[in-house]
Amino acid sequence: MIGRAIFLLHFAVFATPVFAISGKLSIVGSDTMASVLTDLSREFQSVHPDVSFEIQGTGSAAAPPALAEGTVNFGAMSRTMSSTELADFRRRRGFEPRGIQVASDDIALIVHPLNPLRQVSRRILDGIFSISQRCGGPRYGLQWSSVFDELGDLPRAEIAGLSIQRYSRTALSGSYGYFRKEVLCGGDLRPQVMELPGFAAIIDAVARSPGAIGYVGAGFVDPRVRVLAISNAGDEPGSGLQPGDTGYPFSRPLYLYLAQAPGRRLSILECAFLEHVAGPMGQAAFTRHGFQSDGLGLTEDVASVCP
């Protein structure tokens, strides 16, 4: 009886093939990255069928605490960690988290096709979205006419009488943080700004109401809405940049953060996944989802954590 148990135990311990990569990878964080990560995980699984995945795309803010707690292998973030988050991580783990930029994502400003706006500046966006107007934007009224009047040279559109409907992501998403920090100069959103939990929902809402304006990840844009060009300095026409252009101002990095204690090596599994992400298949997935992935030195970054 005991002999048999020992025999079975041996079997359990030694029969596992050593070289097949197996285990569980869990990734928490950015909702923007969730779909591309799902694709990546599926591709990865087709090569390594014994690996299981757990992907939770609630928002970038979820990544630092989860990483600090050690609940996850990677924290996906569509922005850099703030210094508070970094400090919190340091306090709990005693070392710095390591961020690997895997792609970058442009934030596109979208309006309904009936809207005559073609190009906006930070100042106008500040006026539309912000309550504290830190970028020095004007204070617009309820209706679009106040925006059009201020800009002057726009044709009086049929939507001029409609209320301005502003759409944003919910407070946990990296895009929300990015938008407030970079587009609104760190200011606050007006209380009238609608917060929806997904980009698809924002696109739907904007496509369906002529008075709407919102921001989405450029990869989500579909033909039912119009993408606005962003003019960097003044409001002069023709100087605007579209998402994807070089120098587009509202471009944010997408990171995979990992908690690598000094002197500790990443597991084979984690490295294999990172190498997959940096490889041609992984990069193709990012491009397919509308992200930019070239010229980031990703392979070197991965090589530096996984020698």
Binding site: L162, A171, G186, D188
Partner: protein, 635 residues
């Protein structure tokens, strides 16, 4: 003999198990409440500190990027301007120097991509030695110079490094200036008070405006820096130490520190060192979790830094470090109640009407067919209802808002009209009362009335609202959103009407039929006997059903999450979006740092929701119990 003993033991043990389990369940229910209270309690506790000795490792408190110079006691003495100020966001470097005109500011673009470094200069009057603060705002768009005399000057920084002298104004004269994290407000240290001023933008122009005065009371001896969690330690002339949380009107006096201290300075966000006249310096730590939120901050209008006017704002998540959290619960409460009330307005007529018809008019056999069918809706997952409505109905609803409003408003009109027609009919046709109402007649009538309402709404839009209600309303100061309270209320009404229907119908059905039939036998019409015999008995039950429906509406989450737009406005307009407590919990709680202020305030919200539904439910149950207590007979 052992068998009976074993059986007895078995019986005894099981009885014990049952009792203990039940008590545990009871305690668990109680525990739910107590646990929430425990989590929320630190919010309202007075801060206190515990001694930590003075040997512990010192974490130096981080200061802002070289913009101010502090002596070792934390008070800023003067600004040295020899080191240039780097603006990382703008790729610029600013340096100040004394020039013939007063002060000259030189900006140098350090952008590597441009290749050429451009140098620009701005001269302005003033004395470099009289400067008490040089800083920029968070976005590095404005350079702010404050002089000891109280004069200040804002200089706009353009992307290409061009500088333009902007607003200048005057503030009270002061000894020094403290920076508040977030670079949106500063504290002027005068002889006896601390004056907080904030940078406010209006129509593109910034200005520095007094925000609030921190009344020290006993004279000022020393002021610490402002910690990242926006606290500062003030040592008064009498030697006591006050802990100020910016945004709170009152300081907390830390009595445990003794009363002969000379200064107190932060070592880390929760640790500080106190120097004494007689004894050596000691280190203290603030008790964990103490955040010190006053009820006033949660429920009264608050003037926030950089905002135009005081108000109720909910914006708890930081966009950047040093962010002042906006934590008014008022928008969430208003949103919750607004939607639940609108939901009731939609649900009550249908639910109570159907309850009367099914519980009173319909024969029992038919009742048993229809009732479970309607109740089926109560078991529907609200995520399905909200999801499909959000995707399919919401855009259509907004597009045909006037038609739908017309159709809803016409129902009472139609009832009045029908009554008027009936009333005016000649006496001889008074027998119309006995005409049987059949669905086949009702359905077309209903369709007819509703479409008449829609046509009326359409017509009204053309003639009264100048062709477009969606444009007419904002012109008159009412913004219209696609995801609005009407939509939420409508769907909420759909979700809660089966609850109200089911309970109200039961209340009506349980009234013994004998009263109503007797009254009808004596010649009263069915409605007359309902009104005079059944309703007085059933009314408390119906009211309690409505209350329970309200409670259900208040706590619903998925409908709010998907359809309300989650905009934390604090108005009662039906055409704007709203944000509910429940949806806020679902969105923000999973990611709020455990034990942090945001976490605790969300728990306070949950506690409020808990208490609200508890009170509503208990009242409703008491109401029902009172009725049942009357000793009615079941039929």
């Amino acid at each position: 003999m052992s068998v009976p003993r074993q059986r007895f033991l078995q019986d005894f043990l099981f009885a014990g198990l049952v009792r203990v389990t039940s008590v545990l369940i009871g305690l668990l229910i109680l525990g739910m409440f107590i646990q929430m209270v425990l989590i929320v309690r630190p919010l309202f506790e007075q801060p206190s500190a515990v001694a930590r000795g003075s040997s512990a490792g010192l974490a130096t408190h981080q200061t802002e990027s070289g913009l101010q110079v502090l002596d070792d006691t934390g008070v800023q003495l003067a600004v040295t301007v020899s080191t240039p100020i780097t603006l990382p966001k703008r790729n610029l470097q600013l340096s100040l120097a004394s020039g013939p005109e007063g002060i000259s500011i030189i900006s140098e673009s350090s952008s590597a991509t441009v290749g050429t470094s451009s140098r620009r200069r701005l001269a302005m009057p003033g004395d470099l030695d009289a400067l008490s603060l040089v800083t920029t705002d968070e976005a590095e768009q404005q350079l702010l110079l404050i002089f000891n005399s109280g004069a200040y000057r804002l200089i706009k920084i353009y992307a290409d490094g061009r500088l333009q002298s902007g607003v200048s104004g005057s503030l009270p004269p002061h000894r020094s200036v403290l920076s508040v994290p977030g670079r949106q407000s500063w504290i002027l240290v005068t002889e006896d008070t601390l004056e907080q001023v904030h940078l406010r933008f209006a129509q593109g122009r910034g200005e520095l405006v007094p925000l609030r005065t921190l009344a020290i009371g006993q004279g000022l001896r020393h002021v610490s820096q402002v910690s990242p969690s926006r606290r500062l330690l003030v040592t008064t002339r009498s030697g006591s130490t006050q802990l100020w949380q910016l945004g709170r009107p009152e300081p907390a006096t830390l009595d445990m520190l003794g009363s002969d201290s000379t200064s107190a300075n932060w070592l880390s966000p929760v640790r500080f060192r106190v120097h004494y006249e007689s004894v050596p310096a000691r280190d203290y730590e603030l008790r964990d979790g103490v955040t010190g939120v006053s009820a006033a901050r949660l429920f009264l209008p608050v003037q926030h830094e950089g905002y135009q006017e005081p108000g109720y704002y909910w914006q708890p998540v930081a966009a950047s470090d040093g962010f002042e959290a906006k934590l008014s619960l008022v928008p969430l409460l208003i949103g919750t109640l607004k939607a639940a009330l609108v939901g009731l307005v939609f649900a009550i007529p249908v639910a109570v009407g159907a309850a009367v018809f099914v519980g009173y008019y319909l024969p029992s056999r038919r009742r048993e067919q229809i009732k479970p069918f309607i109740e089926l809706i109560a078991s529907f997952p609200t995520v399905v209802v909200a999801g499909l409505v959000g995707l399919w109905l919401a855009p259509r609803l907004t597009d045909s808002l006037p038609e739908i409003l017309g159709a809803v408003l016409i129902i009472p009109l139609a009832m009045m009209a029908v009554f008027g027609i009936l009333h005016r009919l000649p006496r001889a046709s008074g027998r119309i009362g006995s005409v049987k109402i059949r669905p086949l007649v009702l359905l077309p009538a209903l369709v007819l009335v509703l479409s008449a309402g829609a046509v009326f709404g359409h017509w009204a839009e053309q003639w009264i609202f100048q062709g477009s209600l969606l444009m007419w309303l904002p012109t008159h100061g009412i913004p219209v959103q696609q995801l609005n309270s009407l939509l939420v209320g409508f769907v909420l009404g759909f979700a809660i009407f089966p609850v109200i229907f089911s309970l109200a119908e039961e209340a009506i059905y349980e009234v013994p039929a004998i009263g109503a039939t007797g009254s009808i036998a004596l010649g009263a019409t069915p409605w007359r006997s309902f009104q005079d015999v059944v309703l007085p008995v059933a009314a408390p039950g119906i009211v309690s059903a409505v209350m329970l429906g309200f409670g259900r509406g208040v706590g619903e989450t998925m409908i709010f999450l998907l359809l309300s737009g989650n905009a934390p406005g604090s108005d009662w307009s039906l055409f704007s979006g709203l944000r509910s407590l429940s949806a806020t919990l679902a969105i923000e709680l999973p990611e709020a740092a455990v034990g942090g202020q945001h976490f605790q305030i969300l728990f306070l919200g949950a506690l409020l929701l808990f208490i609200l539904t508890f009170v509503i439910n208990t009242c409703a149950q008491l109401l029902r119990q009172r009725v049942i207590g009357k000793g009615r007979v079941r039929r």
